[in-house]
């Protein structure tokens, strides 16, 4: 894999537009060859941060280092980054070949070599023979690939992608996700990918930075983000999550006993100073970690009673919403098995027992 030494260090970067703080004190390091995503809803500052990396916005404070070089004095056209814009920014007055070759003017290549490289780039994005087409003859997906090719042909150390799949329909988007990931692994450069779609980020990334209101909430791999979110906000943003308030009764050897509002007493591993004795916390548990049964299981098993509110059978999965005492929001339960005779008759109103494995609940600070 190439480009391993291209690593990015974002040091305490803030960007202010007048009174509005778009990005506040961001500290992230990104390794070479990583597929790194900036994830958050609109307005969280992810695009602004990307543009700071590209050089289109100068940070109000803080510094960006790429490959150990400070970028504050480097204008956008001299940075080792290239960007795929959200609306692709394909030049309308040039054909596809002209667009892709655009950034190579300074290299002063011989015409034959230039054409060869453009064709190579077109092959890479699976648009062979498209060289003579004009931009208004391309579909959205094709434009996106041209934008990709145009950026990649310059072999940047870092590729910045600003919600590149947002304008595509679902099927095309899923296809492109697979292709992008494969491409990144072939080319081996660092991809920094901005998206508001958490499924997309989870699918593609090596690591994700979850952002909200200009700040980074958590930086971790998809697996860790999913299983070990550090806050209610992150947990709620990634996938679906059930929450219940709780109080810490006792903490010993990294395990806490908690009194929850709706799940009775639980004992879970905790880390973090917030879970001290008597502290008010939140206990969270994923829908797929919960199971339903009519009868109460063996003693000692984590179990609580509830009533089925709604049931949805989705072919290979079933989704239930179960109301439980102590919680005004019903618990979401996802059962992955095909409907059996057990689950088939779990209609609304049926009393059930919710059970879960010991290690499933997560303790989070109360916001």
């Amino acid at each position: 894999m190439s480009g391993k030494d291209a690593y990015i260090s974002i040091n305490n970067v803030s960007k202010r537009f007048g009174p509005v703080v778009a990005v506040d004190g961001i500290n992230i390091t990104i390794s070479g060859g990583e597929f790194f995503s900036l994830l958050g809803s609109s307005g969280c500052g992810k695009t602004t941060l990307l543009r700071v990396l590209a050089g289109f916005e100068a940070p109000t404070s803080g510094e960006v280092y790429i490959d150990d070089m400070a970028m504050s004095e480097v204008p956008p056209h001299l940075r080792p980054t290239n960007m795929v814009f959200q609306n692709y920014a394909i030049f309308p007055h040039l054909n596809v070949r002209g667009n892709i070759a655009y950034g190579l003017r300074k290299d002063k290549l011989a015409k034959a070599e230039l054409l060869r490289r453009v064709d190579e780039a077109l092959e890479m994005v699976k648009l062979p023979g498209f060289g003579d087409r004009r931009s208004n003859q391309l579909s959205g997906g094709q434009r996106q690939r041209v934008a990709l090719a145009r950026a990649l042909i310059k072999r940047p150390k870092v590729l910045l992608l600003d919600e590149p799949l947002g304008a595509l329909d679902k099927k095309l988007r899923e296809e492109m996700q697979i292709e992008l990931r494969a491409l990144q692994q072939t080319v081996g450069i660092t991809f920094i990918f901005v998206t508001h779609d958490q499924e997309e980020a989870l699918t593609l990334s090596d690591r994700i930075a979850v952002m909200s209101e200009g700040r980074v909430l958590q930086v971790a791999s998809p697996k860790e983000l999913y299983n070990r979110p550090v806050s209610v906000e992150v947990a709620d943003f990634i996938g679906q999550m059930n929450f219940t308030d709780a109080t810490v009764i006792d903490v010993q050897n990294g395990r806490a006993a908690l009194d929850t509002a709706s799940l009775g007493r639980v004992q879970v591993p905790v880390n973090g100073d917030f879970a001290s004795k008597g502290a008010q916390v939140v206990v969270a548990i994923r829908p797929e970690m919960l199971s339903l049964s009519r009868e109460r299981g063996p003693q000692g098993e984590n179990a609580v009673q509830g009533v089925v509110k709604t049931a949805a059978y989705l072919g290979d999965r079933s989704h239930f919403y179960v109301s439980v005492d102590g919680s005004d929001k019903p618990f979401a339960v996802a059962a992955r098995e095909a409907p059996t005779s057990l689950t088939q008759s779990l209609d609304a109103g049926t009393p059930v027992w919710l059970t879960w494995p010991d290690e499933a609940p997560i303790v989070l600070p109360r916001p």
């Binding site: 190439s2 100068a58 504050s72 004095e73 080792p80 072999r155 450069i189």
Partner: protein, 310 residues
Amino acid sequence: MNDSTAVTDPIPAPQKNWLGKIRALFLRSETLRGYTLLSPTLIIMAFSMCVPFAIMVLMSFWTQVGFEFDSTLTIANYAQAAERPVYEALLLRSLAISATCTVLTVLLAYPMAYYVAFHVHHHKLVWIILMTLPFWTSYLLRVFTWKIILGFNGVINSGLIGLGLIDQPLEFLLYSPSAVVITLTHAWAAFAILPIYVSLEKIDRSLLEAATDLGDGPVARFLRVTLPLSLPGVIAASLIIFIPTVGDYVTPALVGGPDGIMLANMIQAQFGKVNNWPMGAALAVGMMGIVAAISVIYIWLTRKLTERIE
């Protein structure tokens, strides 16, 4: 594409000297970059207007002595302008002619703009071009055509005589204030249409439908909805016509005759035959001041009126 060499330009090392500091500041500050780009235009425009105006104002306090200027400051020019009735008369006539012309032009243009905004459904572009085309042709020629139309042997007279409707040519047509008004109205007609058209076009049609639904007939609808909402365009059109016409000397010179000359002709004479530049400057400053004052009052008045509506 499996090359491991990244082909990029060498990144320049940051410079520590003052030049480097300026570069860094430049890169960081969008405002600085923007104003630098703007500077040639802004400087040239500001310089070409502010400096001449300043000097003009200054000169208005001087006096003309032969071919030289006596630069001792004095308000003699202004005093003279205030005292001698001819200046006041000219000023009033200029304002009257401009005002009449403005009112006429706007009144005539409004229905036309209304027509194109509301009743033309195909080829609006063609109508717009047709309406604005005269705008771009020679002003001098447009004035001149009225001279030949209104003249003693001109088109109207010879036409009417030829048709046997009159025996003698009509004398009053040319070389009178009315000739100036007619000519100016025609010359500036195209200027009035566009602003009015634009503001009419912007009116949301569903507002009119709502008014109808609430019981307004066409006239009431026009007076209560269309007219107030098109007022910005009417204001713009009025100012676009009033301000330049106050300062027009070509039209009075060609079709005004001695009864039709305006203040601008007097100013022009000061720089020509009369050769009294400071006086000319004073008159120009005076005219500018009065025009600015009238415009400000006009805008303020209409704002007051429209505030009630909005």
